[in-house]
Every structure is written in structure tokens, then in C-alpha cells.
Subunit: 391 residues, 2 copies
């Protein structure tokens, strides 16, 4: 029941729409912007000039088109001058990137994650940011940082309420990073890794143009990033998408969360390695080793992959009945598991999914691969700028 | 990436916001509208005049306030002059109401549902509508009809793809009704009953002001109406919310959908009646009889209620982990089951729900009771008018 916007709000909305368009789609001519945004040429010209004046976009003559007439100027995002830092805090490693407006990864570093609390993980992140900052042009502008983390993140302040596989409880990850680099980082936003992978794939990956998607993310644990009707489903406090703790097997194994038979206990890293008789192994490489052994004909590994694939399809079918998505994306370690067990997944989907809810669903792997978490974290950091470019 | 609205769109948005406000909140003074909508007095005056000119609202002097100064005129929805028909097609009965703008039920009829296809169910609906139409003031205006149905409804055209407990497959319910009464009904919209109950409770019931809710609806089958971030989650084709076909018990009973161990097989009407040793009984009254027997101390009924309550909590906990809602509402026959087995539901929620996802969730019964389906169907019919009041 919001009333229509004021003139000032409309201008902000138009500036945001134009900047977001260029940010997501890359260089684009004024003529295309005019038709895509449904605004007239003079408005597009004025908006572009405003954005260019503060260095968010630049304009240039297009390459020779071979056509007659004066060509339309091309507007491009100032990726080298406006950027965010993006970090991904995972069980085994931390990654940091500098991402330019337009979603361009300009620099990237990686290190093992130091064990311990958030303050420990923040140290190498801050070091990488400080190192990268030295390479930046003096006139460039950092708009902040985004962090993807495998845990439950409180929306209002980015507190990591629970990071079960990090051993974290109530860790103020964002504040810890900002406290270390108050001069470099005007703001730090934190989000769940599966949510941010979904955001990235929706913005510039395999899910562009799809308004109802589920991004399944597997690491040690399992979570989902869900987009319904074009909007992220994050719930009341920000903790939605904990599909790994949907109980699928009432008589199943005990889960670290205190419950029993959670989906994670059937499709997580431990479940696959246990079924393959490799209980002492761990990590994404160990998961890949099982999948590869299965491909080579190792019978134990094949049984393990089929069993996990069966449970993967089981839970996905439940989610398809609940959400009626058009796209399910398998990311993280679940990417390889899905590729090796697509037949099991599809079979379960066909037997459990209702015809109407599953008939148009496509099962896919990510387009952005491992970069999704970083690009999603960068999107989180860019959100405020895109909502109010001159604010 | 939509650009800001044009002046014409803003006017439409403002008219819609004002009309929706009056529709949802009832009579309200111009002064309150001014502050609630954040528009100035002259704009509110002009918008109100436009809506009054086409008979959507009326203005009157307020009752004596006892305060000094000229009192602000009160704007009220023209409930007696602008109305929709609302129908609910359930397994055992059909209900039809005439609902005035503002959500006022002006007239209501009920009949057993004739067995057979949609065309059979439409006959008494059309008869009731025709009877009610005779009582309507000649200057009153019908804006259409909405129908709630216990089935999977295709969003684009209202086709009932599957109504498992109605015995329906691909039934054009809306078209069938409109074809019978083309002169009385300018449009007919169809929606899933759980979705529409959620919409009604969100608009004017227990969920007003709550943006993340799950409405559990139990009849013979079980479904959910889900609202996330203030918007209905209906999925790609409109079939979302089929939580009754989330498999919770891989070794459970065969379900009518062809799968096994669906939640519906553990908490649906048949599950309760079977557990209570009353396999030959059926219907909402039979469910209530078991709950009442349990309350009187009947041991078999008590075991049945506890067992179903346990599974009810099991599935609700899964949904809480997936959606992190602030409110779960138990409607239809699940209302009585929940009230009798709240301890089991809460216990399961505490053992399966993650602390962060469940900590702020409230479990409630509907405020609108059995009227929710009719009021939700009316909201569906009113949607177009509220989006563009003068269109």
C-alpha cells in the first residue's frame, strides 16, 4: 500500500535502473538503454551524465559499425574505478577478490582458513585486502566489502549465528573485518554462501531471467539459496534455506545439529566418504576422488555415488513440490555428485515430484563455478550503491 | 531494473494505494490517509474525489469527536455498491459468498459438492450467484469472481491441473463458471485454497503485518499457502506449496499421488481416522469427533491425535528450517488437530528446528476461521481493481 514515488524518488529509481543495467549487462549503447528502460533519449542522456560525473560510468564512441549515421554513444561501467572487496569464508579456505562494478574480478587471493573464531579468519582476509589496496589507482573508489560464509547469518547486522562446520556460534564476522580496516572499508555486508551463489547465478549466471530457482550448495554441509518470484527467500531473520536440516530419514544418522536423519547426513561430504569406505578422508578433493573412482569403475565408489545421488534426488523432489522452481542448480561439491548421479536424481524427481510441479524444471550446474560465492558477495556490497547511486 | 514510473503510472499507483488502504483498513479519515500514505492533503483530496466519482468510496462527516476544529472527512469503501463473488470448492461442499469491497461478506450460501467434473461443481455455484444477483441494488457493480479450490491451479489461466481429492484432472473451472454467467461475471480468477487462505489472513487476519508466514491447510489432503518477504510463493507455474507431498517417511504408506510416505499420508484426514480405528468415517466432522473423543479421555483417540500431532510437528519443523517464518497458521481440519496436539508439535519443532530458524516463530490458529477461503477468493477477484481502480 505504498503511495507512488516523489520526483526525487523517481530520479533515484531511474539512476539505479540505468546503473544496474550497465552493471549487469556490461557496455551498452544509449540507444539500447533508451529502448530497454523505456525512457526517452534526453532522460537517458541526463542520467548518464549524472552517473559519469561521479565516475560510475564512462561514455565512448562505439567501434566502427559500418552503418551510416551518427552512432549512439556506448555507456560502460567504470570497473577499474569503482569496486568492492568480496570474501568467501569456507570450511577449508578463505578467498578474497577485488571486484569491479560490472562484476569483473580484478584480483584474487586464497589461503587455508585458520582454525578458530571469526577473528582468526578475518586476519588473512584483512591482509589480502590491504595488499590489494596497494595496487589500486589513487582515484579509484571502494564502496565496501561483502562476505559469503557457510553459516546462518542474521540479516539485521550480519552476525553469524551458527557456522556448524566452522565451529562458530554468534560470531560478528562483518564487524570484525571492518574493525581491522576502518579506513579501507566503508561498509561490510555478510550473507550465507548458498544465498549469495543463487544471487550471483541469478544476476549474471545460468539463472538469468529465471524467477524461481533453487541453488543447492554442498560443502561439508548442505544449504540452498532460494529465489521465488524474482526475490531471495531469506525468511524472518535471514536464516531461510536451511534445507540440509530438512529431516528426510526419521531412522537415519545423528546430525551435528542435534536432530536425526537430516538431509545433510545423507548427501553431505561425510555421507559420501563414509559410503565409499573413506571415513578418514575429507574435503572437496576427497569428494571428487570418489566421483572419479566411480567413473573409473570402482564398485564401492559407484554404490556410494548412487546412494548419495538417490538421496539428493529425494530431497530435491521435496523442494520441487514445495517451490515449483524452473531451475535447480547444483553447486559446490554437489556439482560433481549431481553430474555422476543425474540418473538417480532424475528418477527420484519423477517418482516423488508431482507432474505439475516438476514438468518444467531444469537441472543444471553453475555457470560461474567457484566464482559464484565471490561474485554474490560483491553483489551484496554493491546493493546500496545500485539502490541510490548518488546517495 | 525497471525505470521509475511515469506521471500516469504514479497516479494509478496512488489511486491503488488509497483504495487498497480503505479496502483493508476500513473507514479512515482523510487526515489519517495523508499521514499513512505520505501524500499531501490536496493530493489525498483529489484522489478521493476521483475514486468517489466512480462510486468506489464515499465520504461523510465523522461522528462527533468532541474535539475543537473542523473534523477531517471519513473515507469509506463502498461495500454495498462494489462487490465480488467468492466461491470455495471443497471435497464435501461448495460455498459461495457475495463480498463487498472492504472484505464484507454480504450474503453466503452452501451446498454439498455434486460428485463429478468441474462442470458439476459449477452448476450450484452459478445457481447461487444468480440467486444472489437478484438481491443486489441496480446501481451496484460486480467486478468478477474468485474461486478457491483444493487442487493445483495453473497461474496463467486458472486451469485446475490436478484436484486429487476431487477426482479432477485438467479441469477449466474458471472458464466453466464464466461460460454459464457471462453477463453477471466480467472475470473469474481461480486459486489454490491454501494460498488464498494465506492471502486472506495476511490481508485482514492473524498475519497482518507479518511478511513470512506459512498457512497449513488440512482437508482430506494437506497443502500450504506460503508468503515470503510479503509476497506469495506460488512458483513457476503456480503450483508451489504442495507440502503435503514432501516425503517425510521413506518407509511410509502409499500416497494417492503415486509416491510413498508423503506428509499427507501421516497427517491427512485418513491418517487420523485410520489411527483412531475409524477407517469407515470421513469428513471434517469425523476428524473433530476423534479430537473430541481424545479430549474426553478415549485412549485410542488420544494415541491417534498424538501420533498425527507428532508428524505434524515433524513436517512443520522442516518447513521452518526451509523458510524461517515468523508465523505458522493451522487451518482447515489441522486447526483442531493442532490445538489438541500442540505439545507434540512444539516438541518436534524444538528437536528438529534449528534455534535460529525457530526462535521467533509463533504457532497460531486462523482469525478468519472458515471464511478465509472465501475472503481470499474475493481478494483474488479484487486484485485487478486495486491495481488500477479507474482502469
Amino acid at each position: 500500500m505504498r503511495a507512488g514515488p516523489s520526483q526525487e524518488e523517481i530520479r533515484r529509481q531511474n539512476l539505479g535502473a540505468l546503473l544496474r543495467f550497465v552493471h549487469v549487462r556490461g557496455s551498452i549503447s544509449r540507444a539500447e538503454l533508451t529502448s530497454e528502460l523505456g525512457l526517452n533519449r534526453s532522460t537517458i542522456g541526463a542520467l548518464t551524465a549524472d552517473l559519469a560525473a561521479v565516475g560510475l560510468v564512462s561514455e565512448e564512441a562505439p567501434r566502427e559499425t559500418g552503418r551510416a549515421g551518427r552512432p549512439s554513444l556506448v555507456v560502460r561501467p567504470s570497473s577499474d574505478l569503482v569496486y568492492a572487496y568480496a570474501a568467501s569464508v569456507e570450511v577449508d579456505r578463505i578467498r578474497v577478490a577485488r571486484v569491479g562494478l560490472g562484476g569483473v574480478i580484478l584480483d584474487q587471493r586464497e589461503a587455508p582458513r585458520p582454525r578458530g573464531e571469526a577473528i582468526e579468519a578475518v586476519r588473512p582476509v584483512a591482509d589480502f585486502v590491504a595488499q590489494m589496496a596497494e595496487q589500486v589507482k589513487p582515484q579509484a573508489r571502494c564502496i565496501g566489502a561483502g562476505i559469503a560464509v557457510c553459516g546462518l547469518v542474521r540479516r539485521e547486522d550480519g552476525l553469524v549465528r551458527l557456522g556448524p562446520h566452522l565451529g562458530w556460534l554468534d560470531e560478528p564476522l562483518g564487524h570484525a573485518l571492518q574493525d581491522r580496516l576502518p579506513d579501507l572499508l566503508p561498509q561490510v555486508a555478510v550473507g550465507n554462501v548458498a544465498d549469495l551463489c543463487a544471487l550471483a547465478e541469478h544476476t549474471r549466471g545460468v539463472a538469468v531471467g529465471c524467477d524461481n530457482i533453487i541453488y543447492m550448495y554442498g560443502d561439508v554441509g548442505v544449504g540452498a539459496g532460494i529465489i521465488a518470484g524474482g526475490r531471495r527467500v531469506t525468511g524472518h531473520g535471514g536464516y531461510g534455506g536451511e534445507v540440509g536440516h530438512m529431516v528426510v530419514n526419521p531412522h537415519g544418522r545423528a546430525c551435528g545439529c542435534g536432530s536425526r536423519g537430516c538431509w545433510e547426513t545423507e548427501i553431505g561430504e561425510h555421507a559420501l566418504l563414509h559410503a565409499a569406505g573413506r571415513d578418514t578422508a575429507q574435503g572437496a578433493e576427497a569428494v571428487l576422488a570418489v566421483v572419479e573412482a566411480a567413473a573409473r569403475g570402482d564398485a564401492t565408489a559407484q554404490v556410494a555415488v548412487r546412494q548419495v545421488g538417490d538421496w539428493l534426488g529425494f530431497g530435491v523432489a521435496n523442494l520441487v513440490n514445495i517451490f515449483n522452481p524452473e531451475l535447480v542448480i547444483f553447486g559446490g561439491t554437489l556439482r560433481d555428485v549431481y553430474l555422476a548421479a543425474a540418473a538417480q536424481v532424475r528418477s527420484r524427481l519423477n517418482s516423488i515430484g508431482l507432474p505439475a510441479t516438476r514438468e518444467h524444471v531444469r537441472l543444471r550446474t553453475p555457470k560461474l563455478g567457484g566464482d559464484a560465492a565471490l561474485l554474490g558477495a560483491a553483489e551484496l556490497a554493491f546493493e546500496q550503491l545500485l539502490a541510490d547511486p548518488l546517495g
